[in-house]
């Protein structure tokens, strides 16, 4: 099945041994480079510029002026190693450059060399290095082996967040013409078409009509999937994978049924037909801003009162933590609701108020566990208290299925492991990395399957869902073991007057 060794899973998560160091084990694994056209479309040089070293150093200098986090984190690391064994990519590959501190050091060494007195005077003694071709190669390789999941930042005594560093490194690489194909091509599609998949408005309308027919056939109820309906109460912004991929689309059907049963008018937008914002992955504030502004424009043009986001991890980070800064203020929306809201906040509120009713028998035979998406868990919140992002999804699942079991405590909530495909790595050219990076999650999953008979793992992120559907079979699981959370809701919800 694979031309690399799939990691062997331990039976008990706690007994999984720390990886032996395997230097350069993943040095061969890197994503395709962006075509000149993809780079230029985003305002980056098409190809590696001749004076790339000087321009990279200059760009680093600019970023240091723009971000306190970058400056403080490049200064503060004491190389204690607390983060070393916390990264799923290190656990899965053993490559020491996948230890968060070592990954940071790839950039920190250049910072030391050019921006610190000690580095200028003492060079390698204090870990300072020139940015030469070999180091740039390591940058491209290992900053694309970081899913920016922030698990290391939970354990660092100074809160150093490797995501901030890898975002800066990717932005520097873009600025010298060394872009990554997957991210840059997708960002270009959002600018021109409105979504990551490049699905134009008419095709989207067609898809949604098809879904309406499917649900009608299935339930006998005319559940609508509105598109570009001016005057609707809610603008739903969801990852475009929800429009057709499995199991994502079952989640979209779930949202539609919830809106239908709650009697809340809603609409999708063909202009802002994408919740994802891949510009975060490449660290570009300007690109992130440009994408976020599509949502503002759609909300104004359609005259909605609320904005709700569908199931997507990094999209919810951008929405929850950044959108107000990037595209706010939202004073034209209904002030009674937080902006934006997560679909789970909406659904959970309806369950609590009795606005919708779920029938667990519809999911009979299921024993479900929940994969906390890294960006939801460690970079956002749901509800009105800290940790709502853990409690609310679990409450909704428990209302929808007969049995729920959590995975090992070191692999859930704030300590959740990335699926292995986040951060702009969900591309087939990185399949080896994705399979190996999924190891700790697969280990924890295997344990609850063996011990508790777990049948399904619910996810609330388009990337997690696609990643698991792809890598589960490598570990001997069925690909449809991963389900959308709102898929469970959609099956359990009582529709119609008898509800």
């Amino acid at each position: 099945m694979a031309d690399f060794a799939v990691p062997v899973l331990a039976d008990d998560f706690e007994l999984a041994s720390p990886p032996a160091l395997a230097p350069d084990a993943m040095a061969h694994c890197q994503p395709f480079r962006a075509q000149p056209a993809h780079n230029r479309a985003l305002g980056f040089p098409g190809e590696l510029v001749p004076d790339w070293e000087a321009r990279a150093v200059a760009r680093l200098g600019e970023l240091l002026e723009r971000s306190r986090a970058l400056r403080v984190y490049l200064d503060s690391c004491v190389k204690c190693g607390a983060c070393a064994d916390k990264c799923h990519f290190f656990i899965g590959t053993g490559d020491p450059k996948n230890m968060p501190v070592a990954r940071q050091d790839l950039l920190r060494s250049v910072y030391r060399r050019h921006f610190t007195t000690a580095g200028k005077l003492l060079g390698g003694w204090v870990g300072a290095r020139d940015l030469d071709e070999a180091l740039l190669q390591d940058w491209y390789t290992y900053f694309h082996q970081c899913s920016q999941c922030r698990r290391c930042s939970v354990f660092c005594p100074f809160g150093i967040d490797t995501a901030e560093i890898s975002m800066a490194a990717r932005e520097i690489m873009d600025s010298i013409g060394l872009g990554q194909k997957y991210c840059n091509e997708i960002i270009g599609k959002v600018h021109t078409v409105g979504n990551n998949l490049g699905l134009p408005g008419p095709a989207l309308a067609n898809t949604l009509e098809g879904l309406e027919e499917d649900v009608l056939d299935d339930t006998g109820i005319a559940v609508k999937f509105p598109l570009d309906v001016a005057g609707a109460d809610v603008l739903l912004v969801t990852p475009s994978a929800d429009f057709f991929a499995e199991p994502h689309v079952d989640g979209l059907i779930g949202y539609a049924k919830v809106f239908h049963q709650a009697g809340v008018s809603w609409t999708l937008s063909s202009y802002a037909s994408e919740a994802a914002n891949f510009a975060m992955f490449i660290g570009s504030y300007e690109q992130m801003h440009k994408i976020a502004m599509r949502i503002r424009k759609a909300a104004i043009d359609l005259g909605v009162k609320r904005i709700i986001f569908g199931e997507c991890g990094h999209a919810w980070r951008v929405a929850y933590a950044f959108l107000n800064t990037l595209a706010g203020p939202w004073d034209f929306l209904d002030p009674r609701y937080p902006v934006p809201q997560h679909i789970l906040e909406f659904t959970n509120g309806l369950i609590e108020s009795g606005g919708i009713r779920l029938d667990k028998d519809a999911n009979a035979g299921m024993c479900v566990t929940f994969h906390d998406s890294c960006n939801v868990a460690r970079a956002s919140r749901m509800g009105d208290r800290p940790g709502g992002q853990f409690a609310i999804p679990r409450a909704v699942i428990q209302a929808a299925v007969p049995r729920f079991v959590d995975m090992h405590p070191d692999t859930i909530n704030a300590r959740t492991f990335c699926c292995g495909g986040g951060g702009g790595l969900l591309t087939d050219d990185l399949i080896e990395l994705r399979v190996k990076g999924a190891k700790p999650r697969m280990e924890a999953l295997k344990q609850v399957v063996t011990d508790h008979g777990v049948t399904h793992m619910a996810a609330i992120c388009a990337i997690c869902k696609t990643q698991f559907a792809k890598v589960l079979p490598y570990y001997g699981f069925e690909m449809d073991m991963v389900v959308s959370l709102h898929q469970l809701v959609g099956r359990a919800i009582r529709l119609g007057d008898g509800a």
């Binding site: 200064d75 190693g81 000690a118 003492l122 354990f155 005594p157 150093i160 950044f322 704030a414």
Partner: protein
């Protein structure tokens, strides 16, 4: 002659420490945080976030969750160092306050804890393969410097007592720019020289984790981004362009 050398060294070290650290802190303060990036779950209020930073500084909360042995070594070292520094205050007060008198015996224990902690940290650095991989010569040198400062101090406490009265007079003269003789003791000179070296190195090394922990956005930001915009000065143009 030695008095002049040590006095000048201490003066230079203080100057370098204050200006160097002041400059770094000014840079940190002047650099904006363009987006909300607290590691969640995070406190909802700024007071809560300040308490979170306090727990990191006092309890090493995150490190405790990461690695218990490393936490123990770090605690031994840092708490020990704190007690030692408090104990040292008696050398600068003509009549030490009660607290400083009280802390004296704990200061001696602290010295031992600090040495034990530093030795544990050094052992980890030399033995554990992941930590070896990320270590540079300066990482080892820093621990050796701290151990040497501790060892010379302990030697004077337990074996070759130095002239404390003379030292106090020497130190009392420094802020008055008055050069009084330093007791003629090579161990004392070495101890002071090494300590001065530490102060000089601090603003240029990973010892910047001391101010760094207070400026870390993942720890000191409140979770309030749905209610509060934070447009950085450099992003204002972008922000205004769309309102216009």
């Amino acid at each position: 002659m030695l008095s002049v050398a040590i006095a000048s060294l201490l003066a230079v070290a203080t100057l370098v420490l204050v200006t160097g650290l002041g400059w770094r802190i000014a840079r940190y303060t002047a650099t904006p945080v363009p987006l909300a990036i607290p590691t969640m779950p995070a406190p909802l209020t700024r007071a809560g976030a300040a308490a979170r930073v306090g727990r990191e500084v006092v309890l090493f909360e995150s490190l405790f969750g990461a690695d218990k042995l490393l936490w123990l070594a770090a605690m031994l070292f840092h708490v020990g160092l704190l007690l030692v520094l408090l104990r040292h205050l008696r050398y600068v007060f003509p009549t030490p306050p009660l607290l400083i008198v009280f802390v004296q015996p704990f200061g001696k224990l602290g010295a031992l804890a600090m040495m034990a902690g530093a030795l544990l940290l050094l052992a980890r650095r030399l033995v554990l393969p992941p930590v070896r991989f990320i270590s540079r010569p300066s990482d080892v040198a820093m621990l050796l410097l701290l151990l040497a400062i501790g060892a010379t101090g302990l030697a004077m406490t337990y074996f070759v007592h130095t002239d404390i009265i003379g030292l106090k007079q020497f130190l009392a003269g420094l802020p008055l720019l008055e050069l009084r003789p330093l007791p003629d003791d090579p161990m004392l000179a070495l101890h002071l020289g090494l300590a001065a070296a530490l102060l000089i190195v601090l603003p240029f090394s990973k010892l910047l984790h001391i101010p760094g922990v207070f400026f870390s956005p993942t720890r000191n930001q409140a979770d309030d981004s749905r209610d509060r915009r934070r447009v950085a000065p450099w992003a204002r143009k972008l922000d205004e362009a769309r309102h216009g």
